[in-house]
Symmetry: C2
Subunit: 205 residues, 2 copies
Amino acid sequence: MVRKTKEDAELTRRRIIDAARAVFLARGVSRSTLEHIASHAEVTRGAVYWHFKNKTEIFHAIREQVFLPLIDRMDDTLTIQGNEDPLTQIENSLCDTINELNENIEMRQTYEIMMIKCEYVDEFATVLQQILNNCSNITEKIQLAYERAEAQQLLIGKNNPRALAVDTHLFFSGLLHMWVKDFDGSRFRFQATDLIKSHINLRRK
Amino acid sequence: MVRKTKEDAELTRRRIIDAARAVFLARGVSRSTLEHIASHAEVTRGAVYWHFKNKTEIFHAIREQVFLPLIDRMDDTLTIQGNEDPLTQIENSLCDTINELNENIEMRQTYEIMMIKCEYVDEFATVLQQILNNCSNITEKIQLAYERAEAQQLLIGKNNPRALAVDTHLFFSGLLHMWVKDFDGSRFRFQATDLIKSHINLRRK
DNA sequence: TTGCTTACATACACATTTGTATGTATATTA
DNA sequence: TAATATACATACAAATGTGTATGTAAGCAA
């Protein structure tokens, strides 16, 4: 067939990734075949094998496309010294992520795939470790914010920042899971930001 | 071969379920074949097909074996009017579940399968709805406990029981996920009950 | 004790996937 | 402009898994 220019090739690469995301979402990662992905991208398996070694590589490509930018963003909102107080910073950071999920379809779908359309065995087991490491980093950032809040005497009672940070992280982790599973939005999605606010307010003096 | 008595047959049924749990855990649900399960149970696929229609039915058998009793237990500890105050009741209920996870291998493995070794598509999609419904029920029970706590003026600040209950549920949901993913126990398992206590203490006057 | 049913084991036929090998037309480059 | 590498499509071989059909020996009821 027609040999493509480099830009054309990069475009088909992206189309394969997009197709894979859709197929993974609909059929789960395991049940998705390269033929499914190829035909959804309107190419042949030959094209897929040209761009990716196998299904696992496509999976990682999807993941990196969405998660790496997200982590950077969370880092930013939590670290940058804005004019908000630390508690509001945490609140905004979490709300920002929820907003991204609402607005960014690719991110929403990727989250759903990672959470409930993938089995973390063999080649995928390493991804779990990466996820845990990200969690540690985020928790640390939250902890630093809580320490600043403590220094500014914004916190209620005598809670230590570490415990508060872990509690917040677990809360948010649970919220993300429920947000994803709440397909019709009737249980969690509609009130996600409210839940975040009341979670933070619980710590405010 | 040898025809078995009814008790023998029931025993092989359980051995198939046990084998399936082990195989699902090791290979993920999708990659587990009935041959894997059969040979691990030291029977042939014929035996498996005799007892179960297909892999999905085995999956449900595993799930029901563990989850139904658990939900009952949580209901009990949250509903029964003991001599503890409502907040301690909630705390104990959550800690009990964590203790069960620590002590009950089958339950631990089943949780792990449901959370990170299963893709919720097609036949498995309905399970997600069941999980969400259970979550609703548990949240309601927690809310009732918080309402009693409020009536007894045990709560700090002016938080409404509903928001507290959802917050607690999301926290615990996140904790369970992390508990399961924390294989070596270095991140969450060792401090799970402490996290629960400080979560509850955050609400105590 | 006979006959039917149970609790499996064995065998078969079919459909799927996968990786690779090979073909090919066109961009790119020297 | 000739040679080469690129970006795929096509074809092939092998393995794997599934459901079902059939076989069979022993339990159980009459």
